[in-house]
């Protein structure tokens, strides 16, 4: 406050510039009269800008114009929005919002992960079936002089491993059959594996026996089936 007073002191009676901080004189000053005149002029100017309905507008014209508004079309365009007040981070137009895409992608990913089955299906080549009729291949067996290992699978899915020199050995488990065939292969030079399967043995047992032959590098694997009980 003291600063303002000091400033107004050097020029106390200027016309209306002193923020009314002139020294009180106790009577209306010229300034006051001048101010009133100025205000009157301004009022007239403003009044001239106010829209008054004319007969041309029609009796029903009770639009905003009646209320002294200048109307939107008359608003001057030179008004500039202040830059700071509406400063807002805008997403640049060339950047897509990737969030929904990522959501969908994750859903798909989870779906395919859950449904994916990693069981690799492969296949074994097997000889075609011989005819049901009794074959005349009995002589053929005599002709073959190669060592062989025979795996018999009986109707109760039990393995028996026979080599040409050894007795038939019962193998209650898959792994025992595997090791016995392996031993037989190592001790002899057998290159043939004969699988004699009862028709009531399961397919899985036969495939295991076949696989054992493949593992032990048997050149020839034969399948014989029989319906004779062991």
């Amino acid at each position: 406050m003291s600063k303002k007073k000091k400033k107004s002191k050097p020029d106390p009676n200027t016309d209306g510039e002193g923020f009314g901080l002139n020294k009180p004189t106790g009577q209306f000053s010229d300034l006051d009269i001048e101010m009133k005149k100025k205000l009157a002029v301004e009022r007239e100017e403003l009044a001239s800008q106010i829209y008054r309905p004319t007969p041309e507008d029609g009796p029903d014209d009770v639009t905003y114009k009646n209320m002294g508004w200048r109307g939107i079309e008359n608003v001057e365009d030179d008004f500039e929005e202040p830059d700071v007040a509406f400063e807002k981070k805008e997403i640049p137009e060339d950047e897509l919002d990737m969030t929904p895409m990522v959501d969908v992608t994750f859903l798909l990913l989870i779906f395919f992960m859950v449904t994916a089955s990693f069981t690799l299906q492969k296949s074994l080549e097997q000889p075609p079936a011989k005819s049901d009729q009794p074959s005349t291949e009995v002589q053929e067996d005599d002709e073959v002089l190669d060592d062989y290992v025979q795996v018999t699978i009986d109707q109760t899915n039990t393995y028996y491993v026979t080599t040409r020199d050894d007795e038939e050995v019962e193998c209650p488990s898959d792994s025992e059959m595997r090791s016995r065939v392996k031993d037989a292969k190592e001790t002899s030079s057998a290159t043939r594996l004969i699988i004699l399967a009862h028709v009531d043995s399961t397919h899985a047992k036969l495939v295991t026996a076949w696989d054992t032959g493949v593992i032990n590098n048997m050149k020839e694997i034969e399948i014989q089936t029989t319906d004779e009980e062991f």
Binding site: T105, L109, T119, S131, I153, D200, T202, D211, T225
Partner: protein, 162 residues
């Protein structure tokens, strides 16, 4: 003053980004995984067959083989059902009956398939592990009835052990 303003400017630009992770590599990896699983997964109902396990096997193209599916009848657990083709639909089922009629039916199917699709060079029997050996033999005998099948290799489907 103007120098200081120039120095501070990049700092202010970087600040809003510090709180956000860059998700681009994550999306890249996710898409890779997605593509992988899309390629690997099969939408076939054929996985329902519990094939026997084996450690070695050949990979043959499904499309290049005439496929026969042999599964146990769920109701009885004794008899088998043979399906012609890669899907287990009722209309591809071999009509039940005695072995001879089933063999004939299988033989006709294989013959038809091989004559209408000359590119098929194999016959694949997908038999469940619990199916009896005799039943698989029956299917093999059926295949043997087809003349064209004699020049084709016969495969038995297995599941590769890990």
């Amino acid at each position: 003053m103007s120098d200081e303003a120039n120095i501070e400017l990049p700092k202010r630009k970087r600040n809003p980004d510090e709180g956000e992770l860059d998700v681009t590599p994550m999306i890249d990896v996710t898409f890779l995984l997605l593509a992988f699983f899309v390629v690997v997964s099969r939408m076939d109902p054929q996985a329902a067959v519990a094939l026997p396990m084996a450690s070695y096997g050949d990979s043959i193209q499904d499309k290049e083989a005439v496929t026969l599916i042999v599964v146990l009848d769920e109701a009885t657990g004794e008899k088998v059902e043979v399906y012609k083709g890669r899907s287990m639909a009722d209309d591809t089922k071999v009509p039940p009956g005695d072995e001879d009629s089933q063999e004939t039916n299988i033989g006709e199917y294989v013959e038809n398939q091989l004559s209408s699709h000359p590119t098929k060079n194999a016959i694949l029997i997908k038999a469940e592990g619990d199916v009896k050996t005799g039943m698989v033999e029956m299917v093999k005998r059926g295949i043997a009835q087809s003349e064209l099948a004699k020049t084709r290799k016969i495969y038995v489907g297995i599941e590769a052990e890990q």
